[in-house]
């Protein structure tokens, strides 16, 4: 192996003979990967049979026997008899056809639905821009600030001739995106401070940070959400009031802050000591050292686990269902409260699940690719 140089031109074809077809062709692949022994063959056959059965059953249910729409009666109530007569042999996608706008945008005024739709696109655009390495510098901060402001203006309205929409009427996918993205945007700086504090050699600050991180990580998110929902109002002086969504947002920020702090701390720890010492030797102050030397390197290194943590928050925002905030999952559940649609939960959950899946899958593929990329860089 080692004596073959890559640069050798493969001109003299007569000297090399291709491996026999039985060793490299599709048959060989099959034998290698599916039928390499009697046990493997048996497993392949059994699994193959089960997969074919399951896929056929699913196709039957989801496509062939499915009902895609149902007529409405005079009062605008859906006639779901056709769906009920299937008795589970086919999916009733009509519930999705009928309710998809409600599930995506909740009780937002119907004729204004383009606004949350644009907001969702803005969020996706923001994610894509943030994912591009050419923007991994200070320009990202103004980009985020401008986009988040635009999102706020679109959702609330009241400017540029957009009618004002009360926050109580927001719902669906925008809420999920708002809670997770704003959560990240605010938790991130907090987490950097906490991570630095936890590695600080000032004992009081260190203790505070450790207590904060361990306390938050020791309890379930739902208890923090309960706290935000029922306890937080008691903490504030009389007459001061913070609305429900913002309270949940604060709980999510506090929660995310603790988890992100651990991610950032891992990045700080992974930096070679020489970096700290070199910065000290240059006579940089603590903040100069941190801001110019340590953080830029450490944060770059923690981006893949950061994305993974973000995927976690994105999923965890669904917990606000329990305190009655109208996110994507709550909207999906509310859609099947209407008696006509009761009993079609599976279809709705598949629809909502697919939306989460698309977002999380894209992010997790991105983070895997990035991880491989960064590691390659380091290996060189």
């Amino acid at each position: 192996m080692s004596d073959i140089t890559v640069n050798t031109p493969l001109t003299s074809g007569s000297e090399h003979r291709a491996a026999p077809i039985s060793a490299i062709g599709p048959v060989a692949w099959l034998r290698e990967n599916l039928f390499s022994g009697w046990l493997s063959t048996a497993v392949t056959l059994v699994l193959g049979y089960l997969i074919i059965r399951a896929v056929m059953g699913f196709v039957d249910w989801a496509f062939i026997n499915a009902i895609w729409s149902v007529p409405l009666n005079a009062n605008g109530v859906a006639q779901t008899q056709a769906c009920r007569e299937l008795h589970g042999s086919g999916a009733c996608w009509a519930v999705v056809t009928e309710k998809h706008r409600f599930m995506l945008f909740g009780t937002y005024p119907y004729e204004q639905h383009w606004r949350p739709a644009v907001v969702c696109l803005l969020f996706i655009g923001l994610f894509i821009v943030s994912a591009m390495r050419r923007f991994w510098n200070w320009t990202l901060i103004p980009i985020w600030m401008v986009t988040l402001t635009a999102i706020g203006m679109l959702m609330w309205g009241g400017v540029f001739g957009l009618p004002f929409v009360q926050q109580e009427r927001w719902g669906g996918l925008p809420i999920t995106l708002i809670l997770s993205t704003f959560g990240l945007a605010f938790a991130f700086p907090l987490s950097i401070l906490v991570a630095l504090g936890r590695r600080s050699n000032l004992p009081a600050i260190k203790v505070l940070c450790v207590v904060y991180v361990e306390l938050i990580r020791g309890v379930p998110l739902i208890s923090l959400l309960f706290m935000a929902s029922v306890m937080f109002p008691l903490f504030l002086p009389e007459g001061m009031n913070i609305d429900k969504l913002l309270r949940a947002q604060i709980a999510i920020i506090l929660f995310a802050g603790a988890y992100l702090a651990e991610v950032v701390r891992a990045g700080l720890q992974s930096l070679p000591k020489g970096q700290y010492e070199a910065a000290d030797a240059m006579g940089l102050s603590y903040w100069q050292k941190t801001g110019f030397i340590i953080l830029p390197q450490a944060l770059r290194m923690v981006i893949p686990p950061l994305v993974n943590t973000f995927i976690g928050f994105f999923k965890d925002t669904s917990l606000v269902l329990i305190i009655g905030i109208f996110d994507l999952l709550t909207a999906g559940k509310t859609a099947i409260v209407e008696p006509a649609w009761q009993g079609f939960g599976v279809e709705v959950y598949i629809f909502v699940g697919l939306i989460y899946l698309v977002f999380c899958f894209a992010m997790s593929k991105y983070s895997q690719g990035l991880e491989a990329d960064l590691n390659r860089h380091r290996r060189r």
Binding site: Q166, P233, N241, K244, S285, W287, K333, V337, G343, G345
Partner: protein
Amino acid sequence: MKQVSRHSVFRMLGAAVVASVMALPAWAQPAGGSPTLDAIRARGTLVCGVNSGLAGFAQPDSRGEWRGFDVDYCRAVAIALFNDPSKVRFVPTTAQNRFTALQSGEVDMLARNTTWTLSRDTSLGFDFPAISFFDGQGFMVKASLGVNTARELDGASICVQPGTTTEQNLTEWARAARVTFTPVVIERLEEVVGAFVAGRCDAFTTDVSGLAAVRSAQANPAAYTILPDVISKEPLGPLVRHGDQAFADLVRWTHFGLVAAEEFGITAANVQQMTANDARPEVQRMLGKTGDLGKMLGVDPAWLARIIASTGNYGEIFARHLTPIGIQRGPNALWTTPGGQQYAPPFR
């Protein structure tokens, strides 16, 4: 260099502190330290806590407008204060967070079929100005089950919402009636109803009015039976924070005004004409033609006339929201009819 950087650090820190202090009032909506009424007036809207979705009592319609019996009570108070039924913001609350929402001032009043009990009146720090709806707890079963009385439910699974008086009534009744049951405890109304409809439990228990609302919302209401047994008293009404008598008075007399209007035959249709022509002294006082009852409550003299013109009297509100879902007047009829308990003290 070092000097400069230290300064900038301080400046940043200072800026952060100032920014956070400035940001605080931006998040917060001041509600005033003084009584609720001042705060509502300053804000320009009444904030009313309602059920997150109970047919007949509070439910957003297809256009997202809130409708229902409790909702009309909120609107009536808004009209008394602002002469505008749209000057009210509805905050859907769950059985769990309703009390903290009121305690914390997130809402000004709660009109959310809440039972008046001694402990809620005292240790939770509330006042119940009036009983807008006399209710009792009952059971609903699937008709196919063939159950006729609650005592036949021995051994059944019963769906119930936790944290309500319903749950405690159920256990007390079961003990007294020597009925054993398996509880299926689910917090959200939609989910507990879903579980009942799916057959997870044999019976569903809540206030009879709630049962009727749930039953009427089903695709096939005839498939469900509400059992005749009523196992508790459930006086439902709006509630306000303790220690704000002026606001409590306004809510109380809004309710009495609606009841008295029905008693005197004042309706949305004839209120204009009655104000002008009716010679009965009490009617004249109520509608603000004579006397200064409105001023005593701190509102406009014609407050009640405007409420009735907009929402109708108690009977009209009831007929609009509750009769269609199969709830009889029963004890909620006027005291002048047999069995009726709705009674308004004199407007004098």
